[in-house]
Every structure is written in structure tokens, then in C-alpha cells.
């Protein structure tokens, strides 16, 4: 029974709520008063010119940077400033703008690293090779292979991660993020460096994994065709300030957005 003094809206499960985040590097304000609320299952895009502070927002949400001010609420918990690995364990996973794979490890091992947080057996069981650990290791291997199959990388499982083609490396990053079993997936320029055909496949893939794993997706992307075709809601940043928010068609006709991307129209 809900407590009587709680207002009705308190009973709504809060998913992700970002309140007035500020990030200052010395005298530079990289992000100013950034607010965002996500509902479960949404596919939201974050766009803006270079240096707008998009990746900084990601870094604050995932714990890499500690915000100078503001709060991040996740499922009714305040996660502002928690260490990265704890935030990941709470169900937020990310990919990186510049691919950051474990280059010396195989494709399969890359995904298996993400499954490490699900491991129950302690290290001495691993050192002694006890059955409990072996069972867990088999489970991790099988599940990791499942994620590779999902992303179409299963045939490359034993290759070194650094030997993959660029597009495949990006896919592996997504597989690795999925293996942490997130509820919110943050994709930082997933289509960067991809050709139009790969980009189209990627959009399809993002939709598929969202439906299959019940994810909410927040993504940064410069490819406008990709963002407009995929995202249900878009937020535009410029110089750290939110300048627009709305559906793709609203964004496309917003004069502030056009100004930020193309500059002021010249008057004759």
C-alpha cells in the first residue's frame, strides 16, 4: 500500500532524471544546466556541433567526470559522482567515441570481461579450479558467445580484437556494453566512420537490440540522417547550453538549431 503522504507522481518509478548538470574545467563551462528525463524504452538523440559538450554529458552520467553541480537520479537513487564501475553495475552501459577495445585480447574475451560483474565464484575458487568456478566460466563463455551471435561477430570470436575491421570493432563495443546487462545504453557516435550502408544496418541493429533487451537508448551522433531516422526525441546542445528539444521534425525546422549548425544568415 502506498504511504498516504506521498504525492501520486512519487509513485511513478523514476527512470533517469538529470537535473541541471554543470561541468566546469577551470574557467571553461563545458556543460551548463543540462537537464534530461528519460522514460523506459525511449530512443533519444543528443546532437550539437563539435565541442558542444555532448561527450561531457556522457562522462558525467557514467561517472568518469564528477559534475561541478547538479544531480543525476537513476531508478530513485542519486548516482551523482559514483565511481564508473558502480554505475555500470547499476545498469548504465556506454560505448566510446574513439573505440576502446581490449586490443590484446580476443573478441570473445572482450565480451567476457563485461560478464565479470555477474561472476559469483571468488578468486580463490578460480585459482584452485573448483567446480563452482568452472560452471560459472562456462556460463560466462556461453552467454558472451550469444551476444557475439546477436551482433554477427560469432565467427570472429577467437580473433584478436585489434585485427577487426573498423565497423566490426564498433559492433564489438556494442556487444561488450550489452553484456553488462544494462537498462540504459549510451552510444557515443556509433556511426562515426561508417559508410551509408553500414549506417543503415546500424540503425536497424539499434532498434532490434532495444526491443530485444528492453533497453532505453541515448545516443550522440553527427550523422543527421541516422539521428533523424532513428530517434524519437532529440536534444540539441551548443557551447554547453541546451538550445532545442523535440521530435526530429521540430528540430529540423528550429531556427536556433539552424543557426548553431549553419551560422547567421547574411543580410544583403
Amino acid at each position: 500500500m502506498p504511504a498516504p503522504f506521498l504525492s501520486p507522481e512519487r509513485n511513478m518509478p523514476m527512470f533517469l532524471k538529470i537535473e541541471k548538470l554543470v561541468m566546469q574545467f577551470g574557467g571553461l563551462t563545458a556543460v551548463d544546466s543540462f537537464s534530461l528525463e528519460l522514460q523506459p524504452g525511449e530512443l533519444v538523440g543528443l546532437i550539437g556541433p563539435n565541442g558542444a559538450g555532448k561527450t561531457t554529458v556522457f562522462n558525467m552520467v557514467t561517472g568518469t567526470y564528477k559534475p561541478s553541480a547538479g544531480k543525476i537520479h537513476w531508478l530513485d537513487q542519486d548516482i551523482t559522482g559514483l565511481p564508473v564501475h558502480q554505475i555500470t553495475a547499476k545498469g548504465l552501459a556506454r560505448t566510446f567515441q574513439n573505440v576502446r577495445l581490449f586490443a590484446e585480447m580476443t573478441v570473445l574475451e572482450n565480451v567476457m570481461v563485461s560478464m565479470h560483474i555477474t561472476l559469483q565464484a571468488s578468486f580463490w575458487k578460480a585459482m584452485l579450479g573448483l567446480p563452482h568456478y568452472r560452471k560459472e566460466e562456462r556460463r560466462i563463455r556461453d552467454e558472451a558467445l550469444e551476444y557475439l551471435r546477436e551482433l554477427g561477430l560469432a565467427h570472429l570470436a577467437d580473433e584478436k580484437a585489434s585485427s577487426l575491421a573498423y565497423g566490426q570493432q564498433r559492433r564489438l563495443e556494442i556487444a561488450r556494453a550489452l553484456a553488462t546487462k544494462p537498462r540504459l545504453l549510451l552510444l557515443d557516435e556509433p556511426a562515426a566512420g561508417m559508410n551509408p550502408l553500414e549506417t543503415k544496418d546500424l540503425a536497424q541493429l539499434v532498434r532490434e537490440i532495444r526491443d530485444k533487451y528492453g533497453l532505453t537508448v541515448l545516443l550522440i551522433e553527427h550523422d543527421m540522417k541516422f539521428v533523424m531516422g532513428l530517434c524519437e526525441r532529440i536534444k540539441v546542445l551548443d557551447h554547453g547550453i541546451t538550445i532545442a528539444e523535440g521530435t526530429p521534425s521540430e528540430i529540423q525546422s528550429n531556427p536556433h538549431v539552424i543557426k548553431a549548425y549553419l551560422g547567421e544568415p547574411k543580410h544583403a
Partner: protein, 351 residues
């Protein structure tokens, strides 16, 4: 027979072979050969555990000499009888609980390992606040601190006089038994999920963190396990040499271990073993260069320390021509050999 069965049988056969070789040397070998083999076993223990931190976690840790010193002193003080201790500590008597405690060799080794791991735990908080060169300097500092403390605490370590007349407990069974045990445990660890987490931290720490790996926890784990086995190795070393003093545990010892793991291949346990064997054997074989040499037309005088010059040259050559050491990140595996054999068989069967 399944692959796993075959590998188990091969492992047991390899162990039997190793121990029959040891038995042969134990029975018929000269004390000189036995000594070299003992050194090999101990250096395998030290190098494999050192490599766990340096090779698998990618952390340049330069203080294993501290762990070895702590292990050596702890286990020596435990195996010496109260009477021996009284005879050793002539300037200042040994402080109380240590002066009466005595333990069998096996227990003293474990205590040595635990003491080293405890020390590692204490220093881990400042050490893992930094990375890279800074971490190297911090660990180097702690290594030096321990040596200086050994020199200064007359009532615990007997200062520069050291401990003399230890019972030579270390024999081939002890040194190689512990080496094999260390090898099995470390290999299991690095091939496990915990080992993968460590390698992930080495390859890309921010990404490892984003995948939910807690870097401090895993670095600490590797550091403590490594310190434990270094401590045990120190205990073995003390009871092989039978006389220990602070000069034994200078940075020079760390430098030797570093040569072993770099030449063998950072991040390869096989490499660490090979490096240790080459080092223990090469160290003796190269003694030739330190004795006077008659080249027919002239006689070169023997220069003590010439071996180390040669070692440095070898290290430089390895770094220039084989940047990743003898093994790189590769490991010895039965799978590789069995695959080769099967392929050959298949080729022979083809008409």
C-alpha cells in the same frame, strides 16, 4: 579420450619427468648443479608472481625486493631456535615475541608470505592512487624504505649484521615444489575471469571500468597474491643461502627480476619461467667472462661484475630486436602442439 583428458595426462607426465630429473640431480648431481637448480626454482616462483603484477596488470611495480626481504626475514626469524637468535643478536637483543617464537619450515614460509602480503596491503592505498611512472617511483621508494628499515632496526633484523647460520632447509623438492604450485595457481588465475579483468585494466583502464571492473580491487588482488608468493620465495632463498643481510635485498634484486620478465616476455607466464631458467643458468655460465682469459697473444684480466655488463647488453639487444621478449604474450600450450600433430596426421592420411 577427450582433449581435456589428454592434456591432464600430458601435464602429469611432464611433472613426472620434471621430478625424475630433480631426483636424478638430488641423488647424483654435484652440489654446484643442485645449487643452480635450486636458484632456478626460486627464481621461477619470484618471476612468475612478479609477472602477475607487471605483465598481466600492466603496472610497473619496482618493489618486489621489499616483499622478498620481508618474507626472508620473517621465515628466518621463525625457523631459528631461541639459542641461535641469542648468538646472532649480539649488539641488541631480539625484541620479545620474536625471540621465543619458533615454527617449522613449512609454517615459516606461509608466515613469510602472509607478512609480505600484509605489507603489500598497507602500501597498496598510496601505490594505486597513481599510475605509470609515478607508481614505479612510489613502489621503488617503498622497496628502498624496507631495505633501510632492515638495516636500521637492530632489535628485529639484527641490522647490517644480518642473520647467520640458518638451517639449510631449502632443497630441490621445496624450491621446485613451490615453483610448480605457484605456476599452477597463477596460471589458473590469469586464465580465469579475474585474470581477464586484470588484462582488461592493462589494455584500457577507462574501458575496463566502464564494463564494471573495479580497478583497485583487481590490482590489489594481483598485488597481494604476488606479494605472498614473493614472500614465500624470499623464505626459500634465505634458507638456501643460510645467511641474509639487508644488502641482499637492494634494488638490484628487483632489477634482476625485471630482466627476467622483460626478456621472457611481459605478460607471459611461460616467458617468466624461461627467463628465470635462462637467468639462473646464464648467471653461472657467464662466469667465464669474469675469469682471466688467455687469447693466445694476450691475456685478459678477469673483471668482477663483467657478467652484469653482459646481462645489460643482452637486455638491450632483446629490447631492440624482440621488443616483446622471447614469448611476447604467447603461452606454451598443449593445444597448440596437439593441433600441429593432428594436422600432420591429416596430411599423412591424404593420398
Amino acid at each position: 579420450m577427450t582433449r581435456d583428458r589428454v592434456k591432464l595426462v600430458l601435464n602429469i607426465l611432464a611433472l613426472l619427468l620434471l621430478f625424475s630429473i630433480l631426483y636424478f640431480f638430488d641423488r647424483y648431481g654435484s652440489p654446484y648443479h643442485v645449487r643452480i637448480l635450486n636458484n632456478m626454482g626460486i627464481f621461477i616462483t619470484l618471476a612468475v608472481s612478479y609477472n602477475l603484477v607487471n605483465g598481466y596488470c600492466g603496472v610497473l611495480h619496482l618493489g618486489p625486493n621489499a616483499f622478498i626481504a620481508i618474507g626472508a626475514y620473517t621465515s628466518s626469524l621463525l625457523t631459528m631456535s631461541p639459542l641461535e637468535k641469542q648468538m646472532n643478536f649480539i649488539i641488541e637483543p631480539l625484541m620479545w615475541p620474536l625471540s621465543v617464537l619458533q615454527a617449522p619450515f613449512s609454517l615459516s614460509l606461509i608466515c613469510g608470505g602472509v607478512a609480505a602480503a600484509l605489507f603489500a596491503f598497507l602500501i597498496s592505498f598510496p601505490v594505486f592512487r597513481v599510475r605509470g611512472d609515478y607508481l614505479a617511483i612510489v613502489t621503488l621508494g617503498f622497496g628502498e624504505v624496507v631495505r633501510v628499515l632492515c638495516n636500521a632496526s637492530q632489535s628485529v633484523t639484527n641490522g647490517p649484521l644480518g642473520l647467520k647460520g640458518l638451517t639449510p632447509h631449502t632443497n630441490l623438492w621445496w624450491s621446485w615444489g613451490i615453483a610448480v604450485l605457484t605456476l599452477i595457481l597463477v596460471v589458473r588465475l590469469v586464465n580465469s575471469s579475474y585474470g581477464r579483468a586484470m588484462k582488461a585494466i592493462r589494455d584500457n583502464e577507462p574501458a575496463a571500468m566502464a564494463m564494471g571492473v573495479n580497478p583497485f580491487r583487481h590490482l590489489l588482488m594481483a598485488f597481494l597474491i604476488s606479494a605472498f608468493f614473493c614472500g614465500v620465495g624470499g623464505g626459500l632463498l634465505a634458507h638456501l643461502i643460510t645467511t641474509i643481510s639487508p644488502t641482499l635485498f637492494t634494488f638490484f634484486l628487483t632489477f634482476n627480476l625485471l630482466i627476467i620478465v622483460v626478456v621472457g616476455g611481459l605478460g607471459s607466464t611461460t616467458g617468466a619461467v624461461l627467463g628465470a631458467i635462462l637467468f639462473a643458468w646464464g648467471g653461472e655460465a657467464l662466469r667465464v667472462v669474469e675469469s682471466p682469459m688467455n687469447l693466445g697473444f694476450m691475456t685478459l684480466p678477469g673483471i668482477p661484475g663483467m657478467r652484469m655488463v653482459l646481462f645489460s647488453v643482452i637486455l638491450m639487444l632483446v629490447i631492440i630486436f624482440m621488443r616483446r621478449g622471447i614469448m611476447g604474450h604467447r603461452e606454451f600450450s598443449w593445444d597448440w602442439i596437439l593441433d600441429k600433430l593432428q594436422r600432420k596426421e591429416a596430411e599423412l592420411k591424404k593420398p
